[in-house]
Structure formats: structure tokens, C-alpha cells
């Protein structure tokens, strides 16, 4: 049907209620603007705070322990991770791997031999090799071997260098420290002991511990501590994003303690994302409200033009064709409103990137594609609700 809608347009009386129409347009614009800005800010936060912790192959590695409270103090079982804890954690979608940090269950003493007159009680821990950032090929041990390779925390060396002068000990560079042969003495509860030679084969930025090969510690716990079932006091977790809100709320809920530095951004992110989600939902509500206001306007318009529309239907105009064409009248307005909101969002994003973030490379001055997608969806949504409304009202006149 190539019927022209032009002569029909004047039959729709729109003149008298322009203010309510403009209010709904402005409302729609504000709602869409809020919604789009929220989406864009949400993405900005994601991009800004996404990758702030030490990473290996795009993963974050962090250690967690149980929080020791006054109630659990002294109850070793409650402060250690059991099999179920580990299984539960490993099953979470935001965890890509879990490895327990096994500690020694016997007394260990370290001495630096004759060169540096230094000896101290200390601890050893073991961890799966693929969780350690620096694993040299000689980080192995076989039963009967008297030499133990050690991976040492860089932080510990730093601490040693801080207090060493006070005790009359030499300060050490990483290179020198690697060459020092130290002696590790393991004691059984009965006082029997065995001494091993050891040296630092690598330093780790990631792990705050003294790591020995896993099979050595298992053997030593069995031999000196007379135990095979050693529960972990710390877990190492491999995760895509240590700042993921899901991950953090899980830790909070389980009352696990985590290295605060690494998740600090995560908490900020959690709060900010919460704020912008709230703002986004508010924007959506405003959009819905505006669409409702608009539907009242449509009802009013159709009620005013009722006689004319009824006469058109009587003459043989198809109700489908009329609904399509009446609602088509508002297409340009809707598109204009959403495009204007989109343009304002773009200005906001540019200003945010340029003036607030000083053109940081993680962000873009351009809008994210999902914002464009959202505006397309909004246009479609408004047109659809509009068409449905007109159609419903027109069919009521038939």
C-alpha cells in the first residue's frame, strides 16, 4: 500500500499539549544520559583498576590465611585450612588454582657458618613450583641429598639489611647473598638433629617466605616432626583478577585474611562499581518513568484525535498501517534524544579522560562500544514500546 501519511498527520491533534511532550523528551534524555554515563564510568573503573597486582602470565598470585581471633586462638585446627576449605575455594569460578603453603612442623635453626656469626630459629615453607615466580632448574632435592636449595623472599633480605649493621653483621647484595652457604639444622622433639647445607638459589618478589623443595619438607616433616598430614596455614591462590568483587566478598564471608596492598584497589573498585551500578539503575528508572509519561501523552493525543482516527478506520484505513505510521512520527525525536545524550556522554568521557585522568593510556577518550550498543538498545526499546502503545490504543477504536 503506497498510501501517503502526509494528509493524515494534520488529523492527529498534537498542538495543545506540547509541554507534557517536551517534559517527557527531557526526562527521557536525562535518564538515557545517566544510564550511558554510568555504563561508561563502570567500564572506566574496570580499565583503570583491572591490573594492579604482580602478575605472571596475566594471573594474580596472592596468599590468604585464616584470621586468628580471640575465639580461635590456640585452636590450631581452626586456624588451618583443611581439605574441604581448599576444595571449596578451588571450585570457585574466580580461582584458577590453589596451592597450600606447607610449613615446617619441627624446630629449624639457621646459621651462617663461620663467615657471618649469625644464627636464628626460623621457618621453612613449601609450595607448588608453578606458583613461584622464579624457579631455577637446580631447585630440586632428593632423599639423601645434603644440600638444600632455597628461594628467599626479597623482602626478608631487605629486612636483614636494615637490622644487620646494628648487630655488627655485613649488609648483603642479592648476588652475595646467593653465594653464602648457610646451615639448616632440623631438630626432632627429642632433641635429635641433622644439619644440611643450603644456599639461596633465587629471590622472590611474590612470596613472603623461605621456600624449600616440596619433597624435602614432606620428608622432613615426616622424619623430624613425625607427621605426614600437615595442614596449611596459608594458601596461595592463582586468580585472573585479585580485585574481582566476587573474590573479595567470598574472602570476606569466609573471614580469610589477605594481603591488603594487593586488594586495596579491589575494595575501591567494589565501592565505585556499587555507586555507578546504583546510578545506572536510577538512570534506568528515569528512562522507564519518561517512557510512561510519554505513553500518557500518546493516550491523550489519541483520545483527542479519536473521532478522526475512527473515521479513518471507517474509511478502510488499516489499523496496522495507521499504528505503524503514527508511531513512526516519533522515530526522529527518539533518535535525536538518544543521540544527544550519547554526544553529552562522549563530552563527559573526553573531559574525564583529559582533565581528571590526564590522558592516562589505560583509558580512551572515545566511548566504549557497549555504550553505543546500549543506546541502540534504548532507541529500539522506546520505538517498540511506542508502537505497542499506539497499536493497542488504535485497536481499541475499531
Amino acid at each position: 500500500m503506497t498510501v501517503s501519511f502526509k494528509p493524515i498527520r494534520s488529523l492527529l491533534q498534537t498542538g495543545t499539549n506540547t509541554s507534557s511532550r517536551w517534559f517527557s523528551y527531557i526526562g527521557l534524555g536525562i535518564g538515557v544520559l545517566l544510564l550511558l554515563c554510568s555504563i561508561q564510568m563502570y567500564i572506566n573503573i574496570q580499565q583503570l583498576l583491572g591490573g594492579e597486582s604482580p602478575r605472571k602470565e596475566g594471573y594474580d598470585y596472592i596468599s590468604i590465611s585464616k584470621t586468628i581471633t580471640n575465639e580461635t586462638m590456640g585452636q590450631l585446627e581452626k586456624n588451618l585450612f583443611n581439605e574441604n576449605d581448599i576444595k571449596d575455594l578451588a571450585a570457585k569460578p574466580f580461582v584458577q588454582g590453589v596451592s597450600p603453603l606447607i610449613a615446617n612442623r619441627f624446630r629449624v635453626q639457621l646459621s651462617a657458618g663461620d663467615i657471618i656469626p649469625f644464627s636464628t630459629d626460623m621457618f621453612l615453607e613449601s609450595l607448588d613450583n608453578n606458583f613461584i615466580d622464579t624457579v631455577p632448574p637446580n631447585f630440586t632435592w632428593q632423599e639423601g641429598q645434603n644440600y638444600i636449595p632455597i628461594i628467599f623472599s626479597s623482602d626478608f633480605l631487605e629486612i636483614y639489611n636494615v637490622f644487620a649493621p646494628g648487630y655488627g653483621l655485613p649488609q648483603l647484595s642479592e648476588a652475595t647473598a646467593s653465594q653464602v652457604v648457610v646451615y639448616i639444622t632440623c631438630f626432632t622433639p627429642n632433641g635429635e638433629k641433622q644439619t644440611f647445607r643450603a644456599s639461596i638459589v633465587a629471590f622472590s618478589d611474590r612470596i613472603n617466605s623461605i621456600i624449600v623443595p616440596k619433597n624435602f619438607l614432606n620428608w622432613a616433616n615426616n622424619t623430624f616432626g613425625h607427621t605426614t598430614d600437615v595442614k596449611a596455614s596459608r594458601l596461595y591462590i592463582k586468580t585472573k583478577d585479585a580485585n574481582s568483587p566476587d573474590f573479595l566478598s567470598y574472602l570476606q564471608q569466609k573471614d580469610y585474611k589477605v594481603n591488603k596492598d594487593k586488594t586495596k584497589f579491589g575494595r575501591v573498585k567494589q565501592v565505585l562499581q556499587g555507586i555507578f551500578s546504583g546510578l545506572g539503575i536510577f538512570g534506568l528508572l528515569v528512562v522507564i518513568l519518561a517512557l510512561m509519561l510519554f505513553s500518557f501523552y500518546l493516550q491523550l493525543m489519541i483520545a483527542r484525535s479519536k473521532d478522526n482516527l475512527q473515521l479513518l478506520l471507517m474509511l478502510g484505513y488499516s489499523p496496522n498501517w495507521l499504528s505503524r505510521n503514527v508511531s513512526k512520527q516519533f522515530v526522529p525525536v527518539y533518535i535525536l534524544v538518544v543521540v544527544a545524550a550519547l554526544a553529552l556522554t562522549e563530552v563527559m568521557q573526553w573531559a574525564f579522560h583529559h582533565f581528571v585522568m590526564f590522558d592516562r593510556p589505560e583509558l580512551s577518550s572515545m566511548l566504549h562500544w557497549s555504550v553505543l550498543g546500549a543506546s541502540a538498545v534504548l532507541i529500539a526499546l522506546s520505538l517498540f514500546t511506542n508502537y505497542r502503545m499506539v497499536r493497542k490504543l488504535l485497536y481499541r477504536l475499531v
Binding site: 500500500m1 498510501v3 501517503s4 494528509p7 493524515i8 494534520s10 488529523l11 478522526n308 473515521l311 479513518l312 478506520l313 471507517m314 474509511l315 478502510g316 484505513y317 488499516s318 489499523p319 496496522n320 498501517w321 485497536y395 475499531v398
Partner: protein, 213 residues
């Protein structure tokens, strides 16, 4: 192309109409090319019958069939097609857009399914004596002029049946004959039937069948 009435009676009629009427509660079939005259005194349901046939109302018992399809089962979209392509009407209350000009009123019908080119509007208007009114708003035309607008509007589309409900109530004899002549010519062009309902017999309508409502 048939228009059938099967035992049709308005729901709001008393049952004594059954005996008096030659239309109500009867089975009738109208076919293309016929000229049907329905003589109906006031209150006999003339306008109701026209509205039923055109599908404006459906408060009747019985059935009206167009080409064996019951009007009662028509969807709004079906009625649009029915009125656009198959049936045309001149209503007693005319139903024109008061704020549109004469020409616009006719064109609104013509563009829907043009049987004639737009120039034909002027030609017919001249012939019925309202050529000078084409650009006047219908609101300010006399009732007689509006009646002629409604007649011309009804002739702009293709149709199988032309329904006339007291089309000449405000026209003098000369104008009535003139309009009747035009409608007969147009109906002949389409080989269409005319169903003409009026209060009394009109001599210049060459009916082939006559019913008393």
C-alpha cells in the same frame, strides 16, 4: 461476489418485526450488478442494516456473509481490506472530516485504493455543482453540499457493492437525479450492485429488486 443475509435481526428489535419485514429474519442474497431498493419507514432499522452490511456494528442475530465469509469473524484488518476494495458507502450522517477541505476529504479516500486519478475529483465536483467548494473546509459547507462530498468520496474506490443510506435527504430533485446518474454510471463501470435504502420510493432509481424493511 455475493452479499448474503441469513436470518439477520438486530438484537435490540422486538420479535414482531419478524412478520412485518421482508428483510429481517429472511435469507437474502445480493449479487453484483443488481439494483436493490429498500423502502424503510423511520425506525425500521434502515441505518442499522447499512451499518451491519458495512461492518460498523455487529449487534445482530443471524449472519451476514460476504463471499461466504461471515462478517462476524472478520478481523479489524479484514474490515480495512473489505472497505477499501469491495464495499463503499454513503452514510446518512455523512462522516466527513470537518476541519479538512472538500478536496482533502475526497483525496483521503481516493489515495487508499485509487480507482480514479486525482483529476476526477474536480470533474465530479463540477458535475454535482460543488466545483467551487473544493478548497472550503467541510465544516462550513451546507448539509446538501456535504452530502454530495460524501457521494463523490464513495465513488473514488473500487467496489462490488455501493450502500446508500438516504443519500439525497438534503438535495433537491435536480441535484438528486444528477447524483443518481453519476452513481449509476460509476457502478456500471465496476459492474457493481447498489443497495439503496430510503424512506420512500424514488422514481429515478431503476431498481431490479424491491424490499420493504
Amino acid at each position: 461476489m455475493q452479499l448474503q443475509l441469513q436470518q439477520v435481526l438486530p438484537v435490540y428489535f422486538e420479535s414482531d418485526h419478524r412478520t412485518a419485514s421482508e428483510v429481517w429474519r429472511h435469507d437474502l442474497t445480493f449479487t453484483k450488478g443488481e439494483y436493490v431498493k429498500i423502502v424503510a419507514p423511520s425506525g425500521s432499522g434502515k441505518t442499522s442494516l447499512m451499518h451491519f452490511l458495512y461492518g460498523l456494528r455487529s449487534e445482530y442475530n443471524g449472519n451476514i456473509l460476504y463471499n461466504s465469509g461471515s462478517l462476524k469473524s472478520f478481523s479489524p484488518e479484514d474490515f480495512a481490506g473489505y472497505r477499501k476494495d469491495h464495499i463503499s458507502i454513503v452514510l446518512q450522517d455523512l462522516r466527513l472530516f470537518p476541519e479538512q477541505t472538500v478536496w482533502e476529504n475526497i483525496e483521503l479516500k481516493r489515495q487508499l485504493n485509487p480507482f480514479h486519478p486525482a483529476e476526477k475529483i474536480r470533474e465530479m465536483a463540477e458535475r454535482l455543482g460543488i466545483g467551487n467548494k473544493l478548497s472550503s473546509k467541510c465544516r462550513i459547507c451546507s448539509y446538501g453540499e456535504q452530502q454530495r462530498v460524501a457521494i463523490i468520496r464513495a465513488l473514488m474506490q473500487p467496489y462490488d457493492f455501493l450502500l446508500l443510506d438516504e443519500p439525497f435527504s438534503h438535495l433537491d430533485d435536480k441535484n438528486s437525479q444528477n447524483a443518481m446518474q453519476l452513481m449509476l454510471e460509476e457502478s456500471k463501470l465496476r459492474n457493481a450492485a447498489i443497495i439503496f435504502a430510503d424512506l420512500e420510493r424514488i422514481d429515478y432509481f431503476p431498481f431490479t429488486r424491491l424490499f420493504h424493511l
